[in-house]
């Protein structure tokens, strides 16, 4: 459990774009395709890994079309490399935009990170220094992407294992300023906040309380692996109580926001995954406390 800390102020802030609260969703994963198509489980929505569907015309795309017919979809990517110094990949963005249109995605998200330079892609969410130069650079690229996609980009806070000496501000200050200066939304991953707080030695509640509530349009909750000296963001287990506490704390500020449980390694059967996701119900705000527009699901 987290040590004593003042409770978060109860501030309901409708997100700036009035993106709807889609409820509690899970990631669309290959191992569950058969179950989802056959049983049509009562999941509120699915998050789709963009890169898994951008270059296929086969079975995965066919499944995605079926799922998008029946469930709300949000796209989530890992390769935009918004923090890189390489030029933006126009072909990637063109395909992303087409996929968003095809699935009628409610929003498109990626990570605050870089994935490679000099034309290479290491396919990892590499951390950035948090300083004025990086902020200006990233904000300009976010605005460019939003223009190309013709919708606000939503960025997720990464989990990280390295901090740079050249950082002059905290990650939550960087994200907050980026959201305002580049006019983007935030996907707040409360597990990532917890993982980074352990790895870097800050209080995760300060992070949660420091993010602009009206920019949070989605939550991620996930499990991790504690190696003793550091925590790895493995998405391979149930979420620990401290992560759920952070989630509840943040919900008190943002109201109910679309919530997704991530499980990407040792993926369990669909029912187990969905049950884990539905634990979020206990931590979300009571509907009566929600602002009217949230209650209507506007």
């Amino acid at each position: 459990m987290l040590a004593s800390h003042p409770p978060a102020p109860r501030v309901f802030a409708l997100n700036k774009w009035n993106f709807p609260d889609l409820g509690i969703g899970v990631g669309l994963r290959t191992v569950h395709f058969g179950h989802i198509l056959a049983k049509r489980p009562s999941v509120d929505w699915f998050e789709v890994l963009s890169e898994n569907f951008m270059d296929t015309g086969g079975h995965p795309l066919w499944v995605l079309d079926q799922v998008a017919e029946r469930y709300p979809i949000a796209l989530h990517g890992v390769s935009m490399s918004i923090g890189s110094t390489d030029p933006l990949d126009r072909e990637y963005l063109r395909k992303l935009k087409a996929l968003a249109a095809r699935t009628r995605a409610h929003w498109v998200s990626d990570h605050l990170c870089w994935t490679g330079v000099a034309g290479r892609n290491v396919h990892d969410l590499l951390p950035m220094p948090y300083n004025e130069e990086a902020l200006r650079h990233t904000a300009a690229r976010v605005r460019q992407v939003s223009e190309i996609l013709e919708r606000p980009l939503v960025l997720e806070n990464p989990s990280s294992y390295v901090e740079f000496a050249s950082s002059t501000m905290t990650e939550w200050d960087f994200l907050s300023r980026l959201a305002l200066e580049a006019d983007c939304g935030l996907l707040l991953d409360v597990n990532n906040v917890y993982v980074s707080s352990f790895n870097h030695g800050f209080d995760p509640r300060t992070y949660i309380d420091g993010v602009p509530a009206d920019r949070v349009v989605q939550y991620h909750v996930a499990g991790h692996t504690n190696k003793g000296t550091h925590i790895l963001d493995t998405h391979s287990d149930h979420a620990v109580a401290e992560v759920w506490e952070l989630f509840a704390r943040s919900c008190r500020r943002t109201g109910n926001v679309s919530t997704l449980y991530e499980w990407d390694e040792d993926i369990p059967d669909f029912a187990t995954l969905h049950d884990e996701a539905l634990k979020a119900r206990a931590y979300r705000e009571e509907p009566a406390r929600r602002p009217a527009r949230f209650a209507r699901g506007a």
């Binding site: 015309g57 086969g58 390769s79 290491v122 990892d124 000496a165």
Partner: protein
């Protein structure tokens, strides 16, 4: 940081590598990366460096499971390390990481049964490509029935997008099936073979062909008019020749499997497809 992450050696070797040193001399790492309460800057960098080969191996194993079965755990790990050093990912998707595996294996040094591995990789790459190709509708029986008899010789039969032809020097298709079935695998032995890899109802299928059937399908897939391709098949001497009954069987099987998607070359007045 990237130079360190992709380095195949230990973290100390990675930090001392020429590329990394050009950015940050090892003694000055602490001026760039902060330590944590429990880890030094180098140990923190090592977390990323250790994950990189695992991610590459995982991606290549998805596309090349039979190659991995042939090479074994340690052999496959070594292959991945050498391959990604030669062909690092330059795409936003890991699905394209393995595109150069056949090319790499063709000339890979110190690899036992290199030609067999090369053929096996060609087969698995073809299966991956066919899996991801765009869906194109197969030629229907009704469309075939609507073609006037005298139009057939000049027609070109276009294969579906999810279609590949392979000429092989080793029986890798049988090996792949044996791995899937958990059956006993034979030692690689030279044996020519011909294969069509295609997708039907979103499932990847493999159809073994005789040499003459392969040559006829190759001609058709490359746009040779049907009449010309059939005459060439009938005129071929030796094992590549084909009789009328055989031709009929082949076409029936190919149509049944939906390997053609369209006809080209019909006169406008008869183009009712």
């Amino acid at each position: 940081m990237q130079e360190v992450v992709v380095h195949p050696g230990s973290i100390d070797e990675a930090l001392a590598s020429r590329g990394a040193r050009a950015e940050v001399p090892p003694p000055r790492l602490g001026e760039i990366v902060l330590p944590s309460r429990t880890l030094s800057p180098a140990q923190r960098m090592e977390i990323y460096q250790r994950m990189y080969p695992l991610r590459m191996e995982e991606a290549l194993e998805i596309d090349y499971p039979t190659l991995k079965a042939f090479l074994g755990e340690s052999g496959f790990r070594r292959f991945v390390r050498e391959y990604v050093a030669s062909f690092p990912s330059r795409s936003y998707t890991l699905n394209r990481l393995g595109d150069h595996v056949p090319e790499f294996l063709r000339t890979a040094r110190g690899l036992r049964h290199r030609a067999f591995c090369h053929d096996l990789a060609r087969l698995e790459l073809a299966m991956t490509e066919v899996f991801d190709e765009v869906e194109t509708p197969a030629l229907s029986a009704a469309a075939v029935g609507a073609v006037p008899a005298d139009a057939w010789p000049s027609l070109r039969l276009r294969p579906i997008a999810a279609f590949r032809l392979l000429e092989l020097r080793y029986p890798v298709n049988a090996y792949l099936q044996a791995v899937r079935d958990g059956a006993r695998r034979r030692r690689p032995r030279r044996q020519d073979g011909w294969l069509a890899v295609f997708r039907r109802s979103y499932r990847v299928r493999r159809l073994e062909l005789s040499r003459p059937a392969y040559r006829l399908l190759s001609d058709l897939a490359s746009g040779v008019p049907l009449g010309e391709a059939v005459v060439a098949a009938a005129r071929r001497r030796g094992p590549a020749s084909a009789g009328q009954t055989q031709l009929y069987r082949w076409f029936r099987e190919w149509m049944k499997n939906g390997v053609f998607m369209g006809l080209e070359g019909l006169e406008p007045s008869t183009n009712r497809l």
